[in-house]
């Protein structure tokens, strides 16, 4: 089961290593991890998507809370949170395919951010499921390179 955890941490050197090390050491699988400062510069937010069973999730939560620099851990269920991720993808688009690719990008409200010789680079944001659907549609054209940011999330309301 995938769970999105929002982890508020003190913005101190080594804190990323502490969190990442904990996951590695205790054998918890990380799907994605995104880090950035919050509205308070001394506090950062890590959004971690983990793939664990319910029982392990409790351990993840408790072990994270044991780290001195971790201030708060919140589990963000899909239905109660806004989750976003961004993908940058360079897709093959010769003159023949170009119109079709552009159409797909528009449907997904993406943006073309670079045009190369026979390629387009596209940016799309949305929940992970949307990005996956987008990728699936582009795959037949041939993806040259792809990068995703990992999910970031906030509770709703």
């Amino acid at each position: 089961m995938k769970h999105t955890l929002s982890v508020l941490v003190e913005n101190k050197p080594g804190v990323l290593a502490r969190v990442a090390g904990l996951f590695a050491r205790r054998g918890f699988n990380i799907d994605s991890l995104a880090v950035g400062v919050t509205e308070k510069p001394e506090i950062s937010r890590m959004t971690v998507v983990v793939d664990v069973e319910e029982h392990s999730l409790e351990q993840v939560y408790k072990q994270l809370n044991k780290l001195i620099n971790v201030i708060k851990v919140v589990d963000l269920p899909d239905e109660n949170s806004v989750q976003r991720e961004m993908v940058l993808v360079k897709v093959k688009a010769d003159t023949k395919a170009r119109a079709e690719v552009i159409e797909i990008v528009e449907i997904f409200r993406g943006k073309i951010v670079d045009v190369g010789k026979g390629t387009l680079s596209v940016e799309v944001t949305g929940p992970s499921s949307k990005l996956r659907a987008f990728e699936d549609l582009l795959r037949p054209y041939g993806m040259v390179e792809l990068v995703r940011t990992g999910t970031i999330a906030l509770p709703r309301g």
């Binding site: 029982h55 409790e58 351990q59 408790k62 809370n65 044991k66 780290l67």
Partner: protein, 563 residues
């Protein structure tokens, strides 16, 4: 003053009187500042691992924070085993390491090692000092973190330029508050109520007490609870002494080499009251068959331990002493009103098990169990016993009944051979009035035998009772039982090297050898007369003795070999 002086002044402010350590290049400023301290006594060990274990032994014997220090690179890496040992057993330890200057960190400078990186997985917390003005704060935080909540090890890595900088020293008046660190001490009232309800309804209860009872100073409350309810008590290796093993309610230790009756009790009980214990695999045996009939009340200050291995009926996060007090306050009037739960049948059953499966000392030759028993008898059960790791450790746990907390000191979680001698030095220096006996293994003692010099030069009067079976006995036992007696690399070739008596003498310690049962008492009596340094007694015991009962790894707890 300099950063180094601020470091020493901060340690003084924290009440540190004893530090174990070993100097080196980047620690020169710190050692120079230490030279002027009137309050802090530094003990030079002969290996950094010895310093860490000595500080650990000091902490376990006294309940205070143990402090050790070492230089950068190899000094720091040599500390690591000791740091991990302390942290695994929730011992408050502060380790201060030197580091290369901040401007060369990351350049593979001479004697540079990434100490915070290396120790990260084996500490409660660590620091790399990057601003000399932080030093007093960091020290205060480190002591707070090491000694509160579930205690543990904290490492402070001090780059040499931090030590050399000039700062204005001011020790923070108020205890620092850390946004991400607030251990829960009081138990949840509703949960405590629920626990009380289960306790009053229990037919076959057991109290399972671990090191947390010792740490929180909850022994008195635990004994009061057990006696008021007449509940049997079993303890873990680290919980030894949390409840007097001489009490008729005591079941001794449980688990892999626990008593048969303690293990039978766990398998038949309908209510486990776990206090400051963590259902480690050496305790539970095979998890899916463990305590099949039991409801579980689990009291622990570390929420992550609750529900980690065993499903819990009533989780109570809190300090053992505080929670037990709250529980007692609830239960007392109920017991006064309606009497304690009826345990007659249960106690009858336990008495039968105790009669049928007692721990016994085998006859013939010089048996290790006999040696431990004699140490117990001649110290009237009052000594502080510090063990190494192996068979002798388990025999010590089985046959040296502990009657008070902090009396039995052993590396449980990490199982670190070489712990015993240095830890006994630290313990003796912490509680100099107590008799301290290090029950050692012939394999283990060689991992830190250089600390004999430390004991001799500091006139530390520990008795080293060496259980010399010529083997890495615990491993040999597993080879005997599970690997067809194929003794691959576990034979130490006793009698060829070393001669332990001569080894002791070479260091200026006294050495004796005993190979007959009749020799045990006189040798121990002789050794106990010595007050100005260590004595080593080389007990030449039966070579292929085994520790029984034994729950084979992965076997169910009531499936005991020799039990």
């Amino acid at each position: 003053m300099t950063g180094a002086q601020a470091l020493i002044a901060s340690l003084e402010k924290e009440g540190v009187e004893l530090v174990f350590g070993y100097p080196g290049g980047v620690m020169l400023p710190v050692y120079d500042a230490l030279f002027d301290s009137k309050k802090i006594h530094h003990v030079l060990t002969r290996h950094e691992q010895g310093a860490a274990h000595a500080a650990d032994g000091f902490a376990r014997a006294t309940g205070k924070v143990g402090v050790c220090m070492a230089t950068s690179g190899p000094g720091a890496t040599n500390l690591v085993t000791g740091i991990a040992t302390a942290n695994m057993d929730s011992v408050p330890l502060v380790a201060i390491t030197g580091q290369v200057g901040t401007h060369v960190i990351g350049t593979d400078a001479f004697q540079e090692a990434d100490t915070t990186g290396i120790t990260l997985p084996v500490v409660k917390h660590n620091y790399l000092v990057k601003d000399p003005r932080e030093i007093p704060h960091v020290i205060q935080e480190a002591f707070l973190i090491a000694s509160t909540g579930r205690p543990g090890a904290v490492v402070i890595d001090m780059p040499v330029d931090m030590s050399r900088s000039e700062i204005e020293f001011k020790y923070p008046e108020k205890k620092t508050s850390l946004p991400g660190y607030k251990p829960t001490t009081a138990g949840h009232a509703r949960q405590i109520k629920e626990a009380a309800r289960l306790i009053m309804a229990a037919k076959r209860p057991v109290i399972y007490a671990g090191g947390g009872v010792v740490t929180s100073g909850a022994s008195k409350e635990l004994a009061e609870l057990a006696r008021m309810l007449e509940f049997p008590v079993t303890t873990t290796l680290l919980g030894k002494g949390a409840f007097p093993e001489t009490d008729k309610l005591s079941l001794g230790m449980l688990g892999m080499h626990g008593t048969s009756y303690a293990n039978f009790v766990m398998m038949k009980t309908d209510l486990i009251i776990a206090v400051g214990a963590r259902f480690d695999d050496r305790i539970t045996g095979r998890l899916d068959t463990f305590a099949p009939h039991a409801k579980v009340v689990h009291i622990d200050i570390d929420p992550a331990e609750i529900g980690k291995n065993v499903a819990v009926t009533v989780p109570i996060v809190g300090d053992a002493r505080t929670v037990l007090r709250e529980l007692l306050a609830l239960l007392k009037p109920r017991v006064e009103e309606s009497g304690k739960p009826d345990g007659k049948a249960w106690h009858r059953q336990i008495r039968e098990w105790k009669k049928e499966y007692p721990l016994t000392v085998p006859e013939g030759g010089l048996r290790p169990q006999y040696v431990v028993n004699e140490i117990y008898r001649l110290t009237k059960g009052k000594a502080v016993v510090v063990t190494d790791v192996g068979q002798h450790q388990m025999w010590s746990a089985q046959f040296y009944k502990a009657s008070r907390p902090r009396q039995f000191i052993s590396s449980g979680g990490l199982g670190t051979m070489g712990f015993g001698l240095p830890a006994s030095i630290g313990a003796k220096m912490g509680v100099p009035k107590e008799r301290v006996v290090n029950i050692a293994g012939d394999g283990s003692v060689q991992m830190n035998s250089q600390e004999l010099a430390t004991a001799v030069l500091n006139e530390v009067a520990v008795t080293i009772a060496l259980i010399n079976n010529g083997y890495l006995g615990m491993v040999r036992q597993w080879q005997e039982l599970f690997y067809d007696k194929r003794y691959s690399h576990t034979h130490l070739r006793r009698g060829e090297s070393p001669d332990f008596v001569k080894l002791a003498e070479a260091y200026g310690a006294r050495g004796m050898r005993v190979a007959e049962p009749e020799g045990v008492e006189p040798a121990l009596k002789e050794a106990f007369k010595v007050n100005d340094g260590p004595v080593l007694i080389d007990f030449i015991v039966e070579q292929e003795e085994n520790v029984f009962p034994m729950v084979a790894p992965g076997a169910s707890l009531d499936d005991m070999i020799g039990g």
